[in-house]
């Protein structure tokens, strides 16, 4: 456990050693802040029956920066260590491979959570200033942030896997973006095409991040997406672990 925490500490700290972390935080705060502002303005102008939470979490303005941050968070996790050769220092110390894989993932996910933490203050501020409820119920907050966490886990694990497959950060970033975008688009198929097959429709809505978000921001916490994201994260991390070992044996 101590070894894992040592590795995790190094991962988390390493984000703040580089200026990229601050750049990411800066732009992410601008993007989410603007997104929140746009949500409130939209509600001011129309009489749509949705809450501020729904209006800020399920828009194009939300999803676009959302997908972009994962390549930036995860690209250096493995690729940089391969390129610098420090990978050899890590793996020849008495640490186990799963500890490294989990520490890298947890580090990336931890940084992602730090990015989101300030956004909660937007809704607090909204309620204090306007005196109106930003969400239907406490469950809508819980649901929204739970889904953000689940999505973050899944997408971070994809990023870690991509990084473990490359020695250049740029390659890792491009691969991560492509994979996450493909997964995300998969859930959009029903919006773009007229899918008539009911089984296919169900399947698509089962994996659609947008539909999950629509439910969770209303406080409808469905167990199926929770299982989907947790099991996909576990699967991707398992593949990541195998790649990690293969890498070590091949080098």
């Amino acid at each position: 456990m101590r070894t894992f925490l040592t590795l995790l500490g190094r991962e988390l700290k390493s984000y703040f050693y580089s200026p990229i972390a601050y750049v990411v935080i800066f732009f992410f705060l601008i993007a989410t802040g603007f997104n929140f502002y746009a949500g409130v303005m939209f509600l001011n102008r129309s009489d749509a029956e949705i809450t501020v939470v729904e209006a800020s979490f399920n828009t194009v303005l939300f999803w676009f920066p959302f997908i972009l941050i994962f390549p930036l968070i995860t690209m250096r996790t493995y690729a940089d260590e391969f390129r610098m050769g420090t990978f050899e220092m890590v793996t020849t110390a008495p640490v186990q491979d799963w500890q490294v894989v989990l520490a890298k993932f947890t580090g990336a996910f931890g940084f992602y959570c730090m990015l989101w933490a300030p956004s909660f203050s937007y809704f607090v501020a909204f309620q204090l200033i306007s005196g109106k409820e930003a969400a239907m119920a406490a469950g809508a907050y819980g649901g929204s942030y739970l889904l953000l966490a689940l999505l973050g886990m899944f997408y971070c694990s994809i990023g870690c896997l991509a990084s473990s497959l490359s020695t250049e950060q740029v390659n890792a970033a491009v691969m991560t973006f492509a994979c996450i975008f493909a997964v995300f688009l998969g859930g959009l198929v029903t919006f773009i095409f007229n899918v008539t097959n009911p089984a296919l429709r169900d399947l698509i809505s089962y994996v659609s991040a947008i539909e999950h978000m629509a439910d969770f921001t209303r406080g409808i916490i469905d167990s199926r997406p929770i299982i989907w994201y947790l099991s996909m994260t576990a699967l991707v991390l398992f593949v990541n672990f195998q790649v990690f070992q293969y890498r070590k044996w091949k080098a």
Binding site: R2, T3, T6, L7, G9, R10, S14, Y17, S18, M84, G85, T86, F87, E88, M89, V90, T91, T92, A93, P94, V95, Q96, K248, W249, A251
Partner: protein, 310 residues
């Protein structure tokens, strides 16, 4: 401490090491010599569990490096080639991180890091970023990292490369002092270093062991690598082929210096044909102005053992 049996490693199409067998006893300092690409680093990487062997086995302190890799790694302090370090950390911060990664008890981390900073002369740079350090300092940070867990076995891949003569001497002193209670396997190109530090030398070439002995024994048994130099005016004689026929002479090269010829004679093992050569010169009435036998150095032994066609 180290036991290597029939170790073979093949990369796609290339055999990096071929059926290697050797042992290193506790307390020995063993120099691992060989030209570039001989398989030194590959062997070290297998011993530290970084690479798997294609076949054969290796144990560290009785633990198989593949089956019981974690236990084996606990005994090793390793300095890889080129000393990879996290550039974005400070020296003391990096060493604390490494100490805790290597299971140094939390209460001892500070003390151990202080000790290795002292030992490797890093005091004045301990708060600097590693990326700001010179090559010599980085090398010493790597060495401090290898030492921080106080391991029984040190595996050092070219620890003095890139250092200036003073730093080399310091690193050498550090290693010699450590060796009193530890086992050290050290690879290097710098031959005098081996003669000074190592109790034994293993010469490896093209993935195979060419010799494994003390430096003195290597020199004694490979006087073959010795040579002789004769400067004489030999008139019209075909001195070169005459000299080549003297027993014990392997081959002769000739250069002209006015009416004198400068002959370089390569000698066979354990021979000293000086008298024969003088007799020949006397018989043929050559004017000899110099006859010199050069004693073999470890470098000659090294060249002989690792010369491609030998």
């Amino acid at each position: 401490m180290i036991k290597v049996e029939n170790l073979t490693k093949r990369f796609a199409g290339i055999t990096a090491i071929n059926n290697l067998n050797f042992e290193v006893e506790r307390g020995e300092i063993v120099g691992f010599l060989g030209p570039n690409g001989a398989g030194k680093s590959t062997t070290m990487k297998i011993l530290t569990s970084y690479l798997p062997a294609t076949s054969g086995r290796a144990t560290i302190a009785g633990y198989d490096v593949f089956e019981q890799s974690l236990e084996a790694r606990k005994h090793i302090g390793y300095l890889p080639e080129n000393t990879p370090l996290y550039q974005d950390m400070r020296v003391n911060e990096y060493l604390r991180y490494r100490a805790s990664l290597k299971h140094v008890p939390s209460s001892k981390v500070k003390e151990r890091v202080g000790d290795v900073i002292e030992l490797c002369n890093l005091r004045e740079v301990q708060r600097k970023l590693i990326s700001a350090l010179s090559k010599g300092y980085r090398q010493r940070v790597g060495l401090a990292d290898a030492l921080v867990s106080d391991p029984d076995l040190l595996i050092l891949d070219e620890p003095t490369i890139g250092l200036d003569p003073n730093q080399i001497r310091q690193v050498r002193e550090v290693i010699k002092n450590l060796a009193q209670k530890r086992t050290v396997l050290i690879s290097t190109h710098i031959l005098p270093e081996v003669e000074i530090m190592c109790s034994r030398v293993i010469v490896i070439h093209k993935g195979q062991i060419r010799a494994s002995d003390t430096a003195e024994n290597l020199l004694r048994n490979h006087r073959a690598a010795g040579s002789m130099r004769l400067e004489a005016s030999t008139g019209t004689d075909d001195a070169r082929s005459m000299l080549a026929q003297v027993p014990g002479v392997k081959d002769v090269t000739e250069e002209k210096d006015g009416e004198y010829g400068i002959f370089q004679l390569r000698l066979e093992a354990n021979t000293d044909p000086r008298e024969e050569v003088m007799r020949l010169a006397g018989n043929r009435q050559w004017n000899v102005r110099e006859l010199l036998r050069r004693r073999a150095t470890l470098e000659d032994v090294f060249v002989e053992l690792t010369h491609s066609d030998s």
